[in-house]
Symmetry: C2
Subunit: 321 residues, 2 copies
């Protein structure tokens, strides 16, 4: 699956989204322009904007509404990454210096706020109150997901269900909104809007599970962050939750959370997870959500957009970065 | 001027805004509810919501639109205060523990984002795209003002003009939007919309200048922060800019910014400012903006709302906290 043809019929139109994003950094204040350029540098997969454009391809494909919508979705995503960098003091993200490693914490917070403002302005350009409220509600769910994750840090007593709910807010809600928003502005019927919302949500869950698996097996250089970084930050994800399920008491994760500076517990947990079938179990669960996403599409007519959305589910499950 | 009758015809309706704000903290996640309750605790002056309601009193007073607008303005204000606490590590704000002193930095960032999301949802309830875009643009200007202030920290070579522009973004833009938004949703003519926008902007400038004066003379207990805190954080405000204008070279402010740990330079700067006519000069400038605000109202018909807006300019100039 090659990412440069993955987005099928909207591949070309994504350059308009890129232009909309690029224009944001043309500001009167050069240092801010540099910060925005760093945060918005091309090279990301632009998966969420592609989902918005593709979901707009089933009725009236209204590029003048879909481009600001898609750009607002990507900006909202990037703004939360910027704020995330404040949160976990991540040294690297996508293998590049984070906004936060180049600038003060305080400036990074305001940079994220500035990007939220632009995102809100872009989504308002759709002129669609329903989409605007969806956008606001998505930010609310994303922030709530992050707060819940923060509050649960270093707590070894969590369930897979709470994990799914958390990543539903933190990640899947924006995938869902990209698709639902695209469907709404193109004038899709409620059946189709609902189908694309479900597709996006399940795709988002599978995307995050794969992300969380890659944190255990990924290549540090390709991923741009150290292996096991979630556990180091006290965050339980699906693999470590499955490990805790199997050995609830004498478990290196529990030890690590109790003594967070003891690196040997991390190594032990990583080894136990890798030497078991936990990662393939987790991948199965990701596949199940990918299958749910594909099934949600069944109600939609066959078309290049639909085939691209189907291909994306495979890409998300097979990706290695 | 008593604050409990200051808002005249909208005094009662402010309780509806308070209810809208209170309802936000009824969330499924109790710890978040506690954080929101702390950030949104009653006792603030609720000046910005009052401005929105009063500005809606010149045409059709549509409470069902004005209450969500006013609540969204106050939430946006409070969210930026929450993010501000991350920024300057303020130990106290309004004499109460800040969100940040009770919770982790990361959680505080997300709490602010969560509040932005609610604010965006509330403003979308007006159903008015123009007001929504105004809201987004205001957040952009506020964040930009904070970024510029951050970038200029400990830089002694700034002008009064750049200060006025900075506080225009950071503070006056939201006052302006409260008034302009209220006028728009009540169906005011463009003349009146423009008058109320100008009123709000000039009132906001005078408000911030008074705030900055109080930082030099205020009572630490009443203000809830130490005297001279702006200078300590490397922020030039009108009084220190006037002092720099008078003695550009051999100046304790310049020394303080070069050696920020040397408390004696702060004391010297504070003494020089207090022993001169600088604070009364600064107060004159605040008065000028207050007068501009009042003049902007001249085009509006006499009414209880207009009289309340006039009274507010006096209150803002005379306040001691």
């Amino acid at each position: 699956m090659r990412v440069d043809t993955l987005y099928g019929p909207v591949q070309q139109d994504l350059s308009l989204v890129e232009e909309a994003l690029t224009s944001i950094k043309d500001v009167e204040f050069p240092v801010l322009g540099d910060m925005l350029a760093l945060a918005l540098r091309p090279g990301g997969k632009r998966l969420r904007p592609a989902l918005a454009l593709l979901s707009g391809g089933f009725c009236e494909y209204r590029l003048e509404l879909l481009v600001p919508l898609a750009a607002s979705i990507e900006l909202l995503h990037t703004a939360t990454l910027v704020h995330d960098d404040v949160i976990d003091n991540a040294e690297l993200r996508r293998g590049q210096p984070t906004a936060n490693s180049s600038f003060r914490n305080s400036t990074t917070v305001m940079l994220g706020d500035y990007m939220f403002a632009h995102a809100a302005n872009l989504v308002a350009q759709t002129g669609n109150i329903r989409v605007i409220r969806l956008f606001a509600d998505t930010l609310r769910r994303m922030a709530l997901g992050e707060i819940v994750q923060d509050m649960a840090a270093y707590d070894a007593d969590q369930t897979v269900d709470s994990y799914l709910q958390r990543i539903g807010g933190k990640t899947a809600s924006l995938f869902s909104t990209a698709c639902e928003g695209g469907a709404i502005v193109s004038g899709a019927t409620e059946d189709w809007v609902s189908a694309l919302r479900d597709y996006g949500y399940n795709l988002g869950i599978s995307f995050q599970i794969v992300d969380d698996i890659l944190d255990f097996v990924g290549d540090e250089a390709e991923m741009g962050k150290p292996v096991g970084s979630d556990l180091l930050q006290g965050t339980l994800t699906l693999p470590s939750l499955l490990l805790l399920d199997r050995s609830p008491d004498d478990n290196p994760v529990r030890q690590l959370f109790a003594h967070s500076t003891r690196r040997e517990y991390l190594d032990e947990a990583l080894a136990m997870i890798r030497d078991s079938d936990i990662l393939s179990k987790a991948a199965e669960i990701a596949n199940d959500y990918g299958a749910k996403a594909r099934r949600a599409l069944e109600v939609l007519p066959d078309s290049p957009s639909k085939r691209a959305l189907e291909d994306i589910t495979e890409y998300v499950l097979e990706r290695r970065t």
